[in-house]
C-alpha cells in the first residue's frame, strides 16, 4: 500500500512537470497582458525540436556523447519554441493581430509541425521504424547515483531527471522576479495598464516581446521533458495530448502566481493519472475522472469571479493590444 502511494505521488510529480513548465511559461506571458493560447502548440514544437536536434546529432556520430546529446537537444528545443513565440509576438505586438485567434492558429500549426516531423524525420534520413533516441533519453533521465538507495525519500525527491528540478527552480525564480524586483514590477504594470507603464517610461513593446519569448521558451521545455524524460526519447504523434490546455487551465487555478503553479501542477498531474491507481474502474469512469482537472478549473473560475478580490484577478489588460497614439 505504502509503495502504491509512493509510486502514485512519483507518477503525479512526473505528470506535473510538463504542466509546470507550461503554466509557468503562460503566467510569465500573461503577466505582460498577453493571452498566449498558442502555448500547447509551442510545447509541441518544443518537444519535436528537441527530438530533431537529438536525432540529427545521434545519427551523425558513431558513439553519442550524453552531455552533447542533452546540450544539443536542449538548445534546439529552446530555438524551436523561441521561433514559435516570436511568430506570436510579431503578429500580436507588431501587427496588433487578435491574440486569441493568433494563439489558436499557432496551436494548430504547432501540433501540425510536430506531427509532420514526427512522421517524416526517419524518412528524411532513409530509416524506418519509430523515432527513439536511446542515448539522449537516458541522459535526460539520469539521476544521482545514490538516489535509489535512500528509500522513500530518494524515490520521492531524488529520482527525477534534471528537467524536473529545473521546472521548480524556474517557477520559484519567476515568482521572485515578478514580486521582488523592479523588472517584475514593471512587467506587472505592463500587464495591468500598458498606458500607465508607457507614461512611466517603460518600454512596453520590449517587455511584452521578452515575456512572450521567455514564457514560450519555458513552456517549450515542458514539451522537451515529455519527449525526453517521460517517454525516454521516443516520439509518438499526438502523444503529448491535451497537456498544453491543462497548463493554461492551471494558470487560472494558480491565480497567476508561479509559486502556486508548483502545487497546482502537482494536483492536476495527480488528477490526470489517478484513474490508473483506482482499481476496477470501467473505461467510462476513467474518462470521467480525467475530466476532473477541467471541472476544478471551472469551479475556480466561478469562485474568483464572484469573490472579486482584486489581487486574484487576471492582469487587467490581458488579451488587449496596446496602441500608444490611439485617441
Amino acid at each position: 500500500m505504502l509503495w502504491t502511494i509512493v509510486s502514485f505521488i512519483k507518477a503525479a510529480i512526473i505528470q506535473s512537470i510538463p504542466l509546470l513548465f507550461g503554466s509557468t511559461g503562460e503566467i510569465i506571458t500573461e503577466k505582460s497582458g498577453n493571452l498566449n493560447l498558442g502555448i500547447p502548440g509551442i510545447m509541441y514544437v518544443g518537444g519535436i525540436s528537441g527530438i530533431i536536434g537529438g536525432y540529427i546529432y545521434e545519427h551523425s556520430v558513431l558513439t553519442a556523447n550524453p552531455v552533447l546529446c542533452v546540450l544539443i537537444s536542449f538548445i534546439s528545443s529552446l530555438l524551436g519554441s523561441a521561433l514559435m513565440s516570436l511568430i506570436y509576438a510579431f503578429l500580436t505586438q507588431s501587427l496588433k493581430a487578435n491574440q486569441n485567434v493568433t494563439g489558436l492558429a499557432l496551436t494548430t500549426f504547432g501540433v501540425g509541425v510536430g506531427n509532420f516531423f514526427g512522421g517524416s524525420l526517419l524518412k528524411l534520413f532513409n530509416e524506418s521504424g519509430s523515432i527513439s533516441l536511446l542515448t539522449t533519453g537516458s541522459a535526460y533521465k539520469a539521476v544521482l547515483p545514490f538516489a535509489h538507495k535512500t528509500g522513500i525519500f530518494g524515490e520521492l525527491f531524488l529520482s527525477y531527471g534534471f528537467l524536473a528540478y529545473l521546472a521548480i527552480v524556474i517557477s520559484i525564480l519567476a515568482s521572485i522576479i515578478l514580486n521582488k524586483t523592479r523588472v517584475g514590477l514593471n512587467l506587472r504594470a505592463v500587464g495591468e495598464s500598458p498606458a500607465t507603464a508607457d507614461a512611466a517610461g517603460i518600454n512596453v513593446i520590449k517587455y511584452k516581446y521578452l515575456s512572450i519569448l521567455i514564457g514560450g521558451m519555458t513552456a517549450g521545455l515542458g514539451g522537451l521533458f515529455f519527449v525526453m524524460d517521460y517517454t525516454a526519447g521516443a516520439w509518438t504523434n499526438n502523444g503529448f495530448g491535451d497537456r498544453g490546455w491543462l497548463a493554461i487551465a492551471i494558470v487560472i487555478f494558480a491565480l497567476w502566481k508561479p509559486k502556486n503553479a508548483i502545487l497546482s501542477s502537482f494536483i492536476f498531474g495527480g488528477l490526470y493519472i489517478v484513474c490508473v491507481y483506482i482499481p476496477g474502474l470501467s473505461s467510462a469512469a476513467k474518462e470521467i475522472i480525467k475530466m476532473l482537472p477541467y471541472l476544478v478549473t471551472i469551479i475556480v473560475l466561478i469562485f474568483i469571479s464572484t469573490k472579486n478580490k482584486r489581487e486574484n484577478q487576471p492582469p487587467a489588460s490581458l488579451g488587449l493590444s496596446y496602441f500608444r497614439e490611439e485617441r
Partner: protein, 515 residues
C-alpha cells in the same frame, strides 16, 4: 529676471488629416504657473502629450532651459525633468501608492522601504497627506491625484503639467490642490495647468495661454485678464454665458423615489435609503464626488438595476395614476416616457454604438417601429439630420460612424436623440462632459426648454457653478446616501462641497447661506 524653463517653437502635430496643433509657441518661466486654456478639441492635451513624450511632433522645436531638446519617449521627458499628471490617472490599480510612484524608475535598486521614506518626506515638504502603502483601488479620486503628483515630484520634476486636475475634485479639495501648487511655484518649479474653468485660471495662474482649434491665439498676464477677455480668446467671438433660469411653474410630483437601497455584486451598498421626489417643470441637480451612486441611482430608475428595497413611483400624467417602476422592464419604463440620456465616463459605453453611423444610432430607439422585416431608415435619417442641424454637430455626414466624431459631437447626438423623443422624465448624467463652451450652453438651454415644457429633468453634473446656475434644487449624494437637498437659488458651492464629503452642515451655516 524671468528665466524660461521650457519654450515651444512652431510645434505642429497631425493625426491623419486632422491638424491637432498648428505652429504653437509657448514659454513658461521658472517659478511660474501658466494656465493653458482652450475648449475641448483645441489641442491642449495633444500639446502636453508632445512635451511628455507620448506623441512625437511633426514639426517645431522644444527648448528646455534654453537648450534645444528632442523628446522621443516619456523617458526622455523625465530626463528633462518634465512630469505630467494626466486627466485620466495613469496608475496601476492593484499596486500600492509607493509601487506606483517608483514604477519605471531606473536607479538600479529596488527598495520599497527607502522609497516610502522619501515619499513621506515629499509629503511633509509640500503638505500632502497620503499613506504610501494604500492600494490605489481603495483610494478616492483626490488621493489618486495626490499619488500622481508625488510620482512626478519623486522623479525630481521641475516642470509639472496638470491636465484638468480639478475636474473631479470638490471645491475644498481644489483649494487644497491650489495651495500645494503655490508651494511648488514658490519652490521654483514651473507649472502648466490645463483647464477650461475660467475662475480657476484667474485664481491660480500667473499667465494664460489660449489655444483655439489647434491654433495658438496668444498669451496674456493673468492680472490683465478677466472672464470675458478669456472667453473671447477661446471662442473667437463675443458670447454671453448666461443660463436663463426661469421660475418653475405648474410643478407636480412626477417621480417619487422611496427608501431605495441597492447592493452591488461585490456586496457594497451603493445606494442607501434614497428618498426624493422629482417634479415636473423643474430641474433637479445631483451633485456628488464621482462614484457616489449617481450612476446606480439613474440606472435603478431606468430599470437597468433591480433595487433591493424601497420603491420608485411614477405619477403618470396621462392617467393620473401612480405606477411603480419596480419590476418593470427598461422597455416598459421607456414607453412610460422616462428617458435616460446617460452619458457615462466612457461616452460610447451605454448610449451609442461607436461603429454604427448616426442614422443607425438614432434607430436604436426606434427599431421596433417599422412594420416591414427590413429596416426603415427614412425617419431616423430625418431625425439624424435634424439633430445635426439644430445642435451644430460637426460631422462629414449622417453616415459617419459615431466613433470617428470628437467627444463633444458624440454627446450632442446622444442628448439630441433623447430629447427628440419628447420625454416626461429626462435624466442626463454629465451631458456636457467634454463639450466646448458654446455647445455646453446649448445643452443647458435644451434642458431648460424641456423643463419649461413640463418635463421633470434630473441632471447629474460635476461643475458646481453650473449646477447652481441651472438647477432649481440640488440633491447631494455621498457614498450612496442623500446628504442633503438644497435650494439652488440660496445655497453656495461651499455648502455643497461640505455635503459631498459627507459632513453635516451646521445649522447656523444653513441660516446665513454658507459664507
Amino acid at each position: 529676471m524671468a528665466v524660461p524653463a521650457i519654450e515651444l517653437k512652431n510645434i505642429t502635430k497631425k493625426f491623419g488629416c486632422i491638424i491637432a496643433n498648428n505652429n504653437i509657441n509657448l514659454t513658461v518661466n521658472k517659478g511660474e504657473i501658466l494656465a493653458l486654456l482652450g475648449e475641448n478639441g483645441s489641442g491642449k492635451t495633444t500639446l502636453m502629450n508632445i512635451i511628455s513624450g507620448i506623441y512625437f511632433p511633426d514639426g517645431g522645436q522644444i527648448f528646455i532651459n534654453g537648450k534645444e531638446t528632442v523628446i522621443r519617449s516619456p523617458k526622455d521627458s523625465f530626463d528633462c525633468k518634465i512630469g505630467m499628471i494626466h486627466q485620466h490617472f495613469k496608475l496601476v490599480d492593484v499596486f500600492n501608492a509607493a509601487e506606483n510612484i517608483i514604477l519605471g524608475l531606473d536607479d538600479g535598486k529596488y527598495n520599497l522601504k527607502e522609497a516610502t521614506n522619501l515619499i513621506k518626506k515629499i509629503c511633509i515638504q509640500y503638505g500632502f497627506d497620503i499613506d504610501p502603502e494604500k492600494k490605489i483601488y481603495d483610494m478616492s479620486v483626490s488621493e489618486k491625484q495626490t499619488v500622481e503628483i508625488i510620482k512626478v515630484l519623486y522623479r525630481g520634476a521641475d516642470i509639472l503639467i496638470l491636465d484638468e486636475p480639478t475636474a473631479v475634485l470638490t471645491p475644498q479639495e481644489t483649494q487644497k490642490l491650489f495651495a500645494v501648487l503655490r508651494n511648488m511655484r514658490n519652490d521654483g518649479k514651473s507649472i502648466i495647468i490645463i483647464t477650461h474653468k475660467l475662475h480657476e485660471v484667474l485664481s491660480i495662474s500667473d499667465k494664460v495661454a489660449v489655444l483655439r482649434k489647434g491654433e495658438y491665439i496668444g498669451t496674456i498676464e493673468t492680472k490683465d485678464a478677466n472672464e470675458s477677455i478669456l472667453t473671447e480668446m477661446m471662442v473667437g467671438k463675443k458670447i454671453t454665458l448666461n443660463i436663463d433660469r426661469t421660475e418653475p411653474k405648474d410643478t407636480a410630483d412626477r417621480l417619487c423615489v422611496k427608501s431605495v437601497s441597492l447592493i452591488n455584486r461585490n456586496g457594497v451598498k451603493v445606494l442607501d435609503n434614497i428618498d426624493f421626489t422629482a417634479k415636473s417643470g423643474e430641474i433637479l441637480g445631483i451633485a456628488g464626488i464621482a462614484g457616489s451612486g449617481q450612476k446606480e441611482l439613474l440606472e435603478s430608475i431606468a430599470g437597468l438595476q433591480n433595487v433591493d428595497s424601497g420603491d420608485i413611483l411614477y405619477l403618470n400624467p396621462k392617467t393620473g395614476n401612480n405606477e411603480s417602476l419596480k419590476g418593470k422592464t427598461p422597455v416598459q419604463i421607456h414607453q412610460l416616457g422616462v428617458r435616460l440620456s446617460f452619458v457615462p465616463e466612457d461616452r460610447l459605453g451605454m448610449g451609442l454604438v461607436g461603429n454604427m453611423d448616426i442614422v443607425d444610432n438614432m434607430m436604436l430607439r426606434s427599431y421596433k417601429k417599422g412594420k416591414s422585416v427590413f429596416l426603415e431608415r427614412k425617419d431616423p435619417r430625418k431625425l439624424a439630420h435634424k439633430v445635426i442641424d439644430s445642435l451644430e454637430v460637426a460631422t462629414p455626414g449622417a453616415s459617419t460612424p459615431v466613433r470617428r466624431l470628437s467627444g463633444g459631437n458624440v454627446q450632442k447626438i446622444l442628448v439630441g436623440r433623447e430629447i427628440e423623443a419628447s420625454p416626461t422624465v429626462l435624466m442626463a448624467a454629465y451631458p456636457v462632459r467634454g463639450l466646448d463652451i458654446n455647445s455646453s450652453y446649448m445643452i443647458y438651454n435644451l434642458l431648460n426648454e424641456q423643463k419649461e415644457k413640463g418635463v421633470a429633468v434630473i441632471f447629474v453634473g460635476e461643475d458646481l457653478d453650473v449646477l447652481l446656475d441651472l438647477c432649481d434644487r440640488i440633491l447631494v449624494l455621498c457614498g450612496g446616501k442623500v446628504t442633503g437637498i438644497l435650494d439652488a437659488r440660496k445655497t453656495t458651492k461651499e455648502e455643497i462641497g461640505i455635503l459631498m464629503t459627507g459632513k453635516k452642515l451646521k445649522t447656523d451655516d444653513n441660516a446665513n447661506g454658507g459664507e
